[in-house]
C-alpha cells in the first residue's frame, strides 16, 4: 500500500536514477540516518559503543570492502585479516610519526596504503582464478601477519610487539585512546561507514560496478564485449583494499586501542568477514550490513541472554553460542542461499503487491 512506485513521478534523469527510487524506501533511509546521527549519540553508553555498535560499524566497512571484491567482482579473497592488519599498522606508523596530522587523514591514507598492497597481491588474479586465487590470497594473509610479527620497525621496536593507539582528536574531541567518550567513538565510525556505504553503493551502480559484475559472471564474455579485465580486476582489488584498510585502521585505533597482529588480524578474521558477506548476501551493500550485524550482534545477544538473563554457566553458554550461531548459519543458507539481502529483496517484492497479491 505504502511501498510502491506508482504516484512517485521523476521529472529529471537524476531523480530517475537515484539510489532509492521508491519514496517509502527513501524516507526509511533518511529515518535510519537521522536515528543513527541524531538520536543514538545522545543515548549511547560505553557498553553499547565498545561491545556492540563500534565493532558492528567497523566490520560493516570491512564487509563492504570484501563484498566489492568477492561479491561484485567474483575474486575470492581469504586475505582480509592480513589486509586489515596493513591498515592498522599503517595507521599506527602514521599516528606515531606525524602526531600533528588529523587522525581522519591518517585513516584515509592507511586506506590508500592498503589499496596499494592489496593491488599488488591482486596481480596474480589476472592469471589464476577461483580456488587457486583463494589460496594465493591465503598466502598474502600469512605473509602479512608474519611480516608484522617479524619486522620490529612496524611496531616501533616495542618489547612485546604490541601496538598502542595514542590519544588523537578530531575538532578537539578525543576519538582514540582510553579517555574517548562513547559517542565520539561511535560517531567517527558512523561517519566513515556512511561515507564508504554511499561511495560503494554508487560505484557498484555505475560503469565500474557493471564491469565488475560482467567479469564475475563470465570473464571471457566480458572481455569480448570490451571490458578490460586488467582494469576491472585491479580496480576491484584497489577499492576493496581501500575500504578494508579503513576498517583495519579504525579497528585498531578507535575500537581496540592496542593490538597484536596474530591475535587481532589472524586467519579467523578473514573467515569472519567472508562469512559476513556470504550470510548477508554476495553482491549487496545492504547484505554487508546485515551480515556484519548478524555475526557481531548475535554472539553478544546470546551471551547476554544466556549468562546475564538466565544465569547459565559461562562455559556452557559459550559452547552453546557456537552451536546456535552455527545452526543459524546453516538454516539461513538452506532457507536462502543468497543471504539475508535476498530475504530483504523478496520481502520488498511482496510489499509492493501487498495487500493484493495476485
Amino acid at each position: 500500500m505504502l511501498y510502491r512506485e506508482s504516484g512517485d513521478f521523476s521529472e529529471t534523469y537524476k531523480a530517475d536514477s537515484q539510489t532509492f527510487p521508491i519514496k517509502f524506501d527513501r524516507y526509511r533511509y533518511y529515518a535510519v540516518l537521522i536515528v543513527a546521527f541524531l538520536v543514538i549519540p545522545f543515548v549511547i553508553n560505553d557498553y553499547w559503543a565498545n561491545a556492540v555498535l563500534v565493532p558492528f560499524l567497523i566490520y560493516a566497512i570491512a564487509a563492504i570492502g570484501l563484498n566489492i571484491l568477492t561479491g561484485y567482482c567474483g575474486q575470492v579473497s581469504l586475505g582480509t585479516g592480513g589486509f586489515m592488519a596493513v591498515g592498522a599498522y599503517a595507521c599506527y606508523k602514521l599516528m606515531t610519526a606525524f602526531p600533528d596530522v588529523s587522525i581522519v587523514v591518517h585513516v584515509l591514507i592507511s586506506g590508500g596504503i592498503t589499496a596499494a598492497v592489496v593491488t599488488l597481491f591482486g596481480l596474480p588474479s589476472l592469471r589464476i582464478k577461483g580456488f587457486y586465487l583463494a589460496v594465493a590470497t591465503l598466502a598474502a594473509q600469512f605473509f602479512l601477519v608474519w611480516l608484522f610479527n617479524r619486522v620490529a620497525w612496524f611496531y616501533n621496536y616495542s618489547a612485546s610487539g604490541q601496538i598502542n593507539a595514542p590519544d588523537r582528536t578530531v575538532f578537539g574531541y578525543l576519538v582514540t585512546g582510553p579517555n574517548t567518550e562513547a559517542w565520539a567513538k561511535y560517531l567517527i565510525c558512523l561517519i566513515f561507514v556512511t561515507f564508504t556505504g554511499i561511495v560503494a553503493r554508487n560505484m557498484t551502480r555505475g560503469a565500474l560496478g557493471r564491469k565488475w559484475s560482467a567479469i564475475r559472471d563470465m570473464d571471457i564474455a566480458a572481455e569480448i564485449i570490451g571490458v578490460n579485465p586488467l582494469n576491472a580486476k585491479l580496480s576491484a582489488f584497489a577499492i576493496s583494499g581501500f575500504f578494508i584498510g579503513i576498517s583495519g585502521a579504525l579497528f585498531f585505533s578507535v575500537y581496540l586501542g592496542a593490538a597484536e597482529v596474530g591475535e587481532a588480524f589472524g586467519i579467523q578474521k578473514s573467515f569472519l568477514v567472508l562469512f559476513m558477506i556470504i550470510i548477508g548476501g554476495l553482491g549487496s551493500i545492504f547484505g554487508s550490513f546485515a551480515g556484519a550485524a548478524f555475526m557481531v550482534l548475535l554472539p553478544v545477544f546470546l551471551k547476554n541472554v544466556l549468562v546475564g538473563g538466565l544465569g547459565w554457566d559461562t562455559a556452557l553458554a559459550a559452547h552453546l553460542e557456537f552451536v546456535i550461531v552455527g545452526a543459524l548459519i546453516i538454516v539461513f543458507l538452506i532457507a536462502e542461499p543468497h543471504g539475508l539481502a535476498q530475504l530483504w529483496r523478496v520481502a520488498k517484492e511482496k510489499l509492493r503487491l501487498w495487500p493484493f497479491p495476485h
Binding site: 565498545n50 561491545a51 598502542n164 582510553p178 586501542g257 592496542a258 596474530g262 549468562v307 544465569g311 559459550a318
Partner: protein
Amino acid sequence: MKRLATATVAAVMAAAPVMADLVFPSLSYRTGAYAAGGIPFADGYADYMTLLNERDGGIGGVMTRILECETGYNTEKGVECYEATKGEGALVYQPLSTGITYQLIPKATADGIAIHSMGYGRTSAANGKVFSNVFNYPANYWNGASAVVQHILDVNGGDIKGKKIALVYHNSAYGKEPIRTLEELSKKHGFELSLLAVDHPGQEQKSQWLQIRRERPDYVTMWGWGVMNQVAIQEAVNIRFPMENFIGVWWSGSENDVLPSGDDANGYKAVTFHNVGNNFPVFEDVKKHVVDTGKAAGAGDQIGTAIYNRGFYAAMLAAEAVRNAQAIHGVADITPAMMLDGMESLEITEARMAELGMPNFGPSFKVSCENHGGPGTVGVAQWDASSKTWSLISDFKETDMSVIQPLIEADSAAFAAENNIAERCN
C-alpha cells in the same frame, strides 16, 4: 512473548545484587585453545572467594561476588567483558591474557580500576611511577627469564660461557616479552641464545624441534601457553631432549602440559613464583566449605594443580588487598579507588600466610608506590612422573635485578613518553 519477558525480568531480578558486595570480575576462558590453563585458574580464583563467603562471611563482613565472563583468550571478547562488568563496581581485573591486559591498561587507568596481572601482562608495569593502576607482583616475565638463566648457572657452577640456550616462544606479545631480558643476560653471561617462534595455537612445532635437534642447544626454555605446551614437551620427548635441561616459565608448568607425555616427561622443570601441591591446611577448609557443600567452581577437580593454586593465590592477594584497603579507610564496602590504595600498600608476610593456612605459599613482600612488581623472587619446580606431582627443587630466590631494573625503566619511560604520563610518587 509476555511470559518470556516476565521470565527474563524475574531472572534478571534474581541475578541482581541484593546488597553491598565486593565485586571481582573474572575474565576467564573455559573454551578455546587455552582452556586447559583458563579453567583451573578461574576455578581457583572463584573457590577462594567462595571459601571466604562460606567460612568467614566475606571480607570484613562484606560478601564477595565473582562476576565471571568468558573471553576465550580473545581480545575483542575481553573488551566486551570489561565493558559489561566495569559498571558493577569491579574492584580489580585479572585478565589472564597478556593481549587483553595490554588492551585494558589504558582503559582501566582512565576508569580508575586496578589491574593485577600476576606473572603476565606488561612487565614494565612493575614501575608504579608510570603505571598507576597496574600491578604485577610478586614476579614478572623478566624475573622468570632471569630465574631460568640463574638456575642454569647454578647447575653449571656459575659458568655458562659458550653454552647454547634456545627459547621456544608463543609468537605473540606474551612470548616476546622475555626476549630482551634474555638477550641482555646472554651478553652478560656469554651464552648463545637462539629464538624459535611458535604460532598460535601451537599444535604444529615439527620444524622448530627439528631445528633444535640440529643445533643441539644445551638448554631449552619455553614461553608457551595452552595446547602449545604439551605439544612442545611431546616433541622434546620425541627427539630425546634431556628433560632436566628443558625449563618452562610458570605458564608452561602445569599438570596438563606434562601428563600427556607420561613417564617420558619425568624431570621437566618450570620456574614458579608460588608453591605447588595440595599439601596446605587451607585446602582442608576448601574441601569442607566449598567442595562438600557443592559450591565448587567448574567440575571441582582441579584443587592443588599448579594453575589452580595460582588462581587461588591471586584471589588471596586480592582479598588481602581488600582487607588492607578496609583497614586504611575504615570502610567495609570499599570502592575501586580504595582498592588501589589497598594494593599499593599491600604487605604479605610469612606469618600472615601461615595464618591463612597457606605457609610458604609465595614469597613475603611489600608493594610500594614506586614498585608494583614485588620482589621478583622465583623458585624452580620439577615434575615427577611416577608420583604425578610437582615439587620445588629450589626455594624462591632473588633474580638479577641489575639487568631487569634498567629494562623496566627504559620500557616504562617509552610508554610514558608515548602517552604523556607524568611520573607519580614524588
